[in-house]
Amino acid sequence: MADEVPTYSPENFPNTPDEDPFENARKIGKTNLLQWMEITVVEPEKRTTSSMKMQDTFIVYLVETRITDNNIKCSGDGTTSLWRRYNEFELLRSYLESIYPAMVIPPLPEKKASYTWQNSATDKFDAEFIERRRAALEIFLLRVAAHPLLSQDKIFIGFLQKEDGWKDSVYATDFLSKGESRLKALNASFRLKKPDRRFEELKNYGNEIQCNIANILKLRAKLADRQYGIHKVHGNFGRVFCELSGIEKDMVDQLQSAGHYMNVYSEAVDGILEEEEQYSDQLKEYLAFGDSLRAVCRKYECIQYDVEKVEDNLAYKQNQKDMLGKTGGSFSLSGMKKAIFGGDTPEQREQKIKQLDEQIKQTEQELQQVNTDAQKFIDAALRDIDRFKRQKTKDLKEIFTNYAIMQIKTCKKGIAIWTSAKDCFAKM
């Protein structure tokens, strides 16, 4: 596939500045990818590879891009396409999470089907499941491409356009070492002395939104099961009406028509519930966003922990200096020590004070640096969180609206079917 479609980013990566559309886009002031590029996850395909004794079957997805702004110079026709599998998406996301910890990284669709009801697709080779995953993967790429910072990342661009060697290029960034260990994060969260309230609140919010959405999804699955049952039982009416028409000579046509409409009602539920899966998927994305929020909080806690460590260190050193400066006076343990073991000579004390001064200066510089870094992180994180919140409001309003529209459609269908049945009965 990749051979047939001409690409503008073949072997060498990156292009020469003239040919690099990303550079060109930046020059004319584009802030994110979606402003001038279209990205689609077009279709899935099943692939099987055999290595040694094992056979591995998996799905790959065709990722295509197309430049939509004519003002951006590039070589070729401005389109690319390549195949990616799910674990490559996972690799991309892990990378982004490590390298941009202040950003709320969009989530991937779930690995395994959750909150399922009796007829939902659960097998990862199920056509329906694959299709829904394809749609969700596309949304993931679009969200990243719409982000002002993430969309400029070379690895992300490579994901979209560079099939060969992309995985190596990811590992070459050594992103794994840049991430924080979970243990450190856990440690940090317990030991923070003055955590920023905003991140505490964000952590709680992340938990709450996950809890609430989980409850909605759990109950929705049960509702789907019931709704399925209700419709299918009405199909039995269809059968008995037909049987009844056999003995009621003067109502034959009407009963048979009514029976037909009962069958229509029974069959309608499949389409209804299939559409409702969308609602479930959309909510699942926001449930997963809860994890992204928590990841930002964890990083904050680690950074704050580092700051506090340096602060503690500085305080300790200053305290030590103070200790050395004291000559007698009130009772102290170090005073006792001096009395028993002998104190420092004035020269020794000079030396120590000088050393401490050096260390204090260093630590102060360190503190300044670490505070600046922390502040940078906090600013960037809060700004992205704000962006996320506004996006979330817009998205969820639309999600709920779509759900309401789905229900409206279902109601209209119900009205049509039962009105037809009513007409049959009226003619009896």
Binding site: Q35, E38, V233, R383, K394, E398, N402, I415, A426
Partner: protein, 492 residues
Amino acid sequence: MMSSENTQFKDPLTSSYNKDIDYGELESLDLDASAKSEISVSRSSSLIANLSGYDDDDVDARDLFIVVDDPERHTGTMDAYVTFRITTKTTRSEFDDSEYQVRRRYNDFLWLRQKLEETYPTHLVPPLPEKHTLRRLDRFSPEFLRVRQTALQKFLFRLADHPVLSFNKDLQIFLTAKAWEFQAHKKQGTGLISRVSDSIHNIGSSYMLKNRNPDFAIMQEYILMFGEKLAVMDRITQRVVKEQTEYLSLLMDWGPIYTLWSNSEDTLTPALQAMSKAVDHWCQALKELVDGTEDNFAQPLKEYTLYTDAIKAVLKRRDVIQAEYDMTVDELNKKKDEREQVKISDQTYSIGAFLGKDPDEVKQQKQDKLEQQIQDLTHQMEALNDKTVCSDTDLKADMERWHKNKHRDMKEIFLSWADRNVKYYEKCLSVWENAVRVIQAKDPGTEPLQLNTQEDQSLLTMQDELSSPIMMKSAECEHSDKQENTKEERTQ
């Protein structure tokens, strides 16, 4: 007793009947409010929606109107029970007054029905509602009483409509007698008849009918199959009600989750509350549907099952009567044959001759005895023939009427059921249309974003572009036209 104060009763068919009243839509009665007779009569005018569904040409012929309403709870010495008020209006000469009002309880209805069955074994007596229902366990709950009241009303209506049963004396006493008079009358047992009819029952079942009228064979088969279909429909309905009830209880838990979520949100709160409200209204509509299905679809179907049981019993009784007649005919023919035989017989070797009687005398004696028997049997046969013809005619007439009414009732039951479903979806439709409106409404309290830095500007542009491609792609199943999603250029 009642005629002087009975000014509030309105003739159900001459009072303004609104044809737009939904079939089967009844307000709930609570025992306290039913004290005011005015209100309960207007309530019962919707009960009588049934009546106006029938042919209008019957209206003028009717001269006996009965209304059942106003359930009241009483505590007796042994138990608590409910009485219903029964108001009768009539122009018939058999009645002393033109209006009556009495109170009767369910057991009184049972007594009446049993008397009618005993008195008219070959007529169809309409069925009574069941003594207990599985769904409504509280026999004093307003819903249970409302359902029962409707069924009792229908019972009396069908009786009043019957050309023979409506003139029955027991019915008249039921409708008119004061409480103590009625109790006394009930005590007069006529158990003899029921015992006799039982024994006849046994004869009939063992005797194979020779010439059953093909009409009745058809009737029998029809009733059998109809009863089967009713039973099937009853089972399906119970299943539907069960599933819908469970669905409802899940739905009632779903709405509050959105409310709980709205506690964590600020800008999303109106949308979440809109969802929560929509789900709550949905629950209300569904509850009405389920209750309506149970009361006005499941119950009437069950009643018709009871009706078919009653018909089966009457058919059996008719068979018994015919069996009696056939047996008598057989007996008569046998005696006639015997008579011929005795004529040509020689009584020389009979028992009588053996005992010393004159053979000719013996012959004469036998012939006389046979003649008498033949006479008696002939009379009996003629009487039974009349009885058979009568009961056959009665039954045929009743069945014809029953078929017509059944057709009307079935139509009404199914029609109102379909209509209820349409109404349910219409209600839900408006609920969700309203929700869309609320969710999409512009928030009045949002401040315009402070666009201080260039980064903020870019945030704004990015956010606007985000909503259309992402949500539209996920909202449509089919591959939406990608041209829709091209963004306009944003230059700064």
